[in-house]
Amino acid sequence: MRSKLSFLILFFSALLQQAVAQDKVSVKFGSVSEKDFATKIYSIDSNANAVVIADVGSSQIEGNSKGGFSLAYKHYKRVHILNKNGYDIADVSIPLYSNGVDEEKLEKLRAITYNLEGGKVVETKLDVKNNVFKDKINKNLIVNKFTLPNVKEGSIIEFEYSITSDYLTNLQPWEFQGAYPRLWSEYNLSLPVFLGYVTLTQGYQQYDIKTTKSANQSFNILDTRGAGASERYNFTAEVSDGRWVMKNVPALKEESFTSTIDNHISKIEFQLSELRPPAFNYKRVMGSWDQVADELMKSEYFGLQVTKDNGWLKDIISPITKPTDSKTDKARKIFAYVRDNFTCTNRDRRTMDQTLKNLVKTKNGNVAEINLLLTAMLKYVDVTADPVILSTRSNGVTHSVYPLLNQYNYVVCKADIDDKTIYLDASEPNIGFDHLPLRCYNGHARVVNKEAQAIELSSNSITETKTTTIFLINDEKGNLTGSLQQTPGYYESLRLRDRIKEKGNEELQKEIKKAFGSEIVISNFAIDSLNKYDHELGIHYDFDIKDEKEDIIYLNPMFGEGYKENPFKSAERFYPVEMPFAMDETLNLQLEVPQGYTVDELPKSMIVKLNEEEDGMFEYRISQSGQNISLRSRIRFKRAYFLPEEYEILREFFNLIVKKQAEQIVFKKK
């Protein structure tokens, strides 16, 4: 009884302690003591190479001397490095943006490494003057880099800095999660009511603390830009202080069949929506999709180039199209022209960096420029065409409700011809008319026109269909001889085209020969539709099997086309499975029983369904009729996206496929 009671008391006091101790971050810059080194293995992750003890950021708005407002960002981080594999966290990169005139400023940088030497804490400071290096990546991006000195196994490192930015659109986002586990991750944001930002959060972790308070803050703005005396504004405004804290956040691990890990990381980001400072004119920065699309269409760096009178396009268009061409033919010719004559040098850009006229001169440009040129040219010949903005798979999903332009990194073109909607991407070298690269199938996308219509480019909506047909008969000499015809899916065809362009047709043939080995001789190898980009390829060849006339012949009727490996390797899964497309793969085989042999054993036919809805189906039908054996093996997936709960059956499903497709036909000599 007594022991039980004391246990209870202990339990409560532990709870209390926790509640008290864990409301505020327990560490601060510069105060590290011996006991901070005591933990060698953290319970959050016994395998961790380093543990982030605290990662705390804050952003607030301040008046500046340029007649406006600046963002003041502060970042503090403390890390316990447990072993050598955690040393990379001591290399720090701080990217700063510049538009060539105004530069973001890095200030108040301090960094210290602490080591426990002979029971005492020894500090080594970063020499900020000599050991912080600037790497100018390009004209808009300068990365400040440093590494902490005297880092050893067991070191604690700390750094803090501020960034002042005049770009109100660059309000720093916060990632609560990263490559190492974090014990305390916190972001504070203080925003005056006259600035509106939309907040977006994502991830699977819960906030431990999430609060908002209101307070008053005074703002001082100085304007020294004019020729006369500088002007000064002072005012007080209500600010709202938001605070988000996550504790004990595990490290993030990337798994296969994930579009991007960024879709799953716990983070919070902001997009400027309204500017309405007192004494200044109210300005709505972010409106509805209609307004945003309208502004985009009027923007010099986007729609204006498409909608204005582009009379100069005549010189380009008239040599490639005939006035008598149908609209579809015109569109096809213009699309092929843009695709074949321009090189895309940046596939991660939503706005133009040069005019269309300049693009035509330099012959290279970003994806927005190339597809806006396509749009402008289509409009010029009276084809209804509009730009579409989207976020590629590797860039993460977008929110259809908010027009958060920063999330969009890609532009394609939508054309409507004879009641048919067609999507075009002229930035991709080998792609066909009315096909988009796989990277574009990432859910919500937005047409930039008056209606600002939302469209859904879902990977579930594309089906990769592959068909293989094999015939095998006995020739006069009693050897098996046959032919294979294969139509790979569209995206496999695209990949093969890219490879053939790079390595040549012979290389592909060599690889097929290599796979078969010297016992199967391949002849009459040919690939059809190599330059018909709208269509799948056709691959066909004949083959002869060198016969060894053994007493028993074991033959796998899949002829190397089956799955030999389960694509789902790991035993468990934490995120949804994002396959690039749905699929439908069929192999048909007609086989004559080798002369002088009889069938001793045939695999059994089977049909497996992934679930009741038949979202996945595997069919293996084999039968013998007289001297002929026919096989049909088909795998079909109706969708590409699967929940983590479905992972186990998905893995088991492929396990069955691999098993079945490994089975052999056994022939015995008569």
Binding site: F133, K145, T147, T362, E565, N655
Partner: protein
């Protein structure tokens, strides 16, 4: 004799002017021989490299490339690196269509300036200038001209007219201009004859030129690039870089220069001296001392690459490393050198060309051919080699990054070439013992013990030191050659020595390892050591084969199979003997147990091009034997017949 040289030269000059002017780049002028197998044709190239008397130099280069198809596009751009010791003065360019008509000229604002750094470097001063016309109507021709100022003469250019595979050359030349009393050294490969020499007052010019070099294609395991191409390497006699001077006429002299860069940079702070003595003084055996001090280095420093100006060649001093606890290969090697010096052990700063498949250095042409520094410590019996950038390697072991090659060992007296250790067939051993049980559902439970030695342990060393336990498990989950499997347990043990080894114990459950049909059971007895190597048959091999390190894999496998089966088809024992190695494998069934044995000895070294078909056969025979199946049938049961 003189007359002849003069004649040749005047011919060259006139041909240059014809090609180098607003020449005719019409594609119709290219001969069929130059078009064969080519994506790119170099129409002309004229390089001049002028050595000034004060240790500066200027390189002027003009060249024109005809791009025949899309695969040539990657050669069409202009790219030059620059840094504190190299300045790009001027870039010009023009684009021509297939008829040779000029379409466009380069405008300076179109040149892009970017960082030249690689990911693994914290900071260096390398930057790039890039331009491309992005023309897509084939064929087309680009012409570029550039002038680069060299501050410092440690490096001279390399003349390599044929820059890539599927790349032919109509004409290329290089002229080396120097004061008459200054000798530029050179080493030519696949170039017949001597350079043309002219003298004009106080300057002399030597010119090499080549015409009509057809395109070649890359081959598997081909030898060093200079064996397959016309190449001339150049190097200085006397040279200078920043305030340092040197001479490169012998390895001895070059070694002196390298030593001068690090001279006097070996002062350790007092606390490090004390620590070093505390470790070393109680130990008698010098090898043990070195090992313990190497551990101290590994524990107290890490690799960080900072290369700025002369810092690309000169190590940070020992004090810097002691306070920052980091450095690059030069700094860390010099630091270890200083530590050993403090306890009276002599060691040598040693330059090496590192890389798993790095080209061999040219031993009879003293020049800066190195990219890495290691430390050698000669003892009475043998030499201990230390890779000072590694935090995990055992003292004395180099691995395939630096083993088995010539290296330049330096001290105050100069430099000398030495050979780093080679690991042979018996040292690079992988031995594996497997005990496994197959159940009636065709699931195989495997217990595998593998020991990796020598160069075969390099991967596993990286695995256990570079990845957390979770990640190792992930690796094993992805990398093993089974269709569907789970790792139920894994364990690694490392034996650190001069030829280290790693022991691995795995428990794996493989679903459907065997195929069980109505009455038959198919199983591959080679469970875990199946090679994937297959080579394409090639009609005509041009160049010799250069195979990597030699190794030996030994496997023994024991599989318990379900009761009631007998052999229907057993693979015949395989035995392949070739100059590339020996392979044997055999399997037998005894009761309900399968016993499999496999031994592969794979030799390394150089083989003649005509032996290539034999290598294809060797690999194919192994590939096939590794996958041969045992077929078992159910022994006749007393099942009632006649149904």
């Amino acid at each position: 004799m003189l007359k002849v040289t003069g004649l040749v030269f005047s011919f060259l000059v006139s041909s240059f002017s014809a090609l180098a002017g607003e020449g005719d780049y019409a594609v119709s002028n290219i001969s069929a021989a130059m078009l064969a197998k080519a994506n790119v044709v170099k129409r002309m190239e004229q390089i001049s490299f002028e050595v000034m008397s004060n240790g500066e130099a200027i390189m002027r280069k003009k060249y024109a490339l005809t791009i025949l198809n899309e695969n040539g596009d990657r050669q069409a751009g202009f790219l030059e690196f620059y840094d504190k010791l190299h300045d790009i003065k001027n870039i010009e360019g023009a684009l021509y269509d297939a008829a040779g008509k000029e379409l466009k000229r380069l405008k300076n604002k179109q040149i892009i300036d970017l960082t030249g750094m690689v990911e693994s470097t914290l900071i260096d001063d390398s930057r790039r200038k890039y331009h491309n016309f992005y023309h897509k109507v084939y064929p087309y021709t680009v012409q570029y001209e550039v002038e680069i100022k060299y501050y410092g003469t440690l490096f001279f250019p390399v003349w390599l007219p044929r820059e890539d595979e599927n790349f032919s050359v109509e004409q290329s030349s290089i002229s080396i201009i120097s004061p008459v009393n200054y000798t530029v050294r050179y080493k030519a490969f696949n170039y017949s004859g001597e350079p043309a020499l002219t003298t004009d007052k106080d300057k002399k010019t030597q010119t090499w030129q080549i015409i009509n070099l057809p395109a070649i294609e890359d081959e598997y395991a081909s030898p060093s690039w200079y064996e397959m191409n016309t190449v001339v390497l150049f190097a200085p006699t006397d040279f200078s870089i920043e305030s340092y001077r040197g001479n490169m006429t012998s390895w001895g002299e070059f070694g002196k220069f390298v030593y001068s860069l690090k001279q006097g940079r070996d002062q350790l702070p007092e606390n490090v001296k004390e620590a070093v003595h505390r470790i070393a003084d109680p130990i008698k055996d010098p090898a043990e001392k070195i090992a313990r001090l190497y551990e101290y280095l590994q524990k107290n420093t890490r690799y960080i690459s900072i290369q700025l100006g002369i810092g690309g060649w000169q190590p940070f001093d020992a004090k810097y490393v002691a306070t920052k606890a980091y450095g690059d290969c030069k700094a860390l090697t010099n630091y270890m050198y200083s530590i050993l010096k403090e306890v009276g052990i002599t060691s040598y700063y040693t330059l090496v060309k590192a890389g798993r498949n790095a080209n061999k250095i040219i031993t009879d042409f003293p020049s800066q051919q190195f990219n890495h520094v290691i430390l050698s410590v000669p003892l009475q019996k043998d030499t201990i080699w230390l890779e000072c950038t590694s935090q995990t390697k055992p003292a004395g072991y180099l691995g395939d990054f630096t083993c088995d090659r010539y290296a330049l060992m330096v001290d105050e007296k100069g430099g000398a070439l030495v050979r780093t250790p080679k690991y042979g067939l018996k040292q690079n051993l992988q031995s594996r013992r497997i005990k496994a049980t197959l159940n009636a559902e065709a699931t195989l439970s495997i217990n595998a013990f593998s020991k990796y030695e020598g160069l075969q342990q390099d991967l596993y060393h990286e695995l256990i030191h570079g990845l957390s336990k979770d990640k190792v498990k992930e690796f094993l989950h992805e990398e093993l050659d089974f269709a569907t499997y789970d790792i139920s347990s894994f364990e690694y043990k490392e034996n650190q020595s001069a030829t280290p080894s790693v022991e691995e114990r795995l428990d794996i459950v493989v679903s459907n390892y065997a195929t069980i049909t109505g009455k038959r059971l198919f199983i591959i007895p080679n469970v875990m050591t199946r090679t994937h190597r297959k080579l394409p048959a090639v009609e005509e091999r041009k160049f010799d084969l250069e195979l990597g390190f030699e190794y030996n894999d030994i496997d023994s496998v024991e599989i318990n199979i379900p009761e009631g089966y007998m052999a229907e088809s057993m693979p015949q024992p395989a035995s392949v003997n070739s100059q590339f190695g020996k392979y044997t494998s055999s399997v037998k069934l005894s009761g309900n147990q399968l016993f499999y044995y496999r031994n592969l000895e794979h030799y390394g070294g150089r083989f003649s091009a005509s032996d290539y078909p034999e290598l294809v056969k060797f690999y194919e025979a192994i590939y096939k034997a590794d996958r041969s199946k045992v077929v078992l049938v159910k022994t006749e049961t007393q099942a009632p017949k006649g149904f």
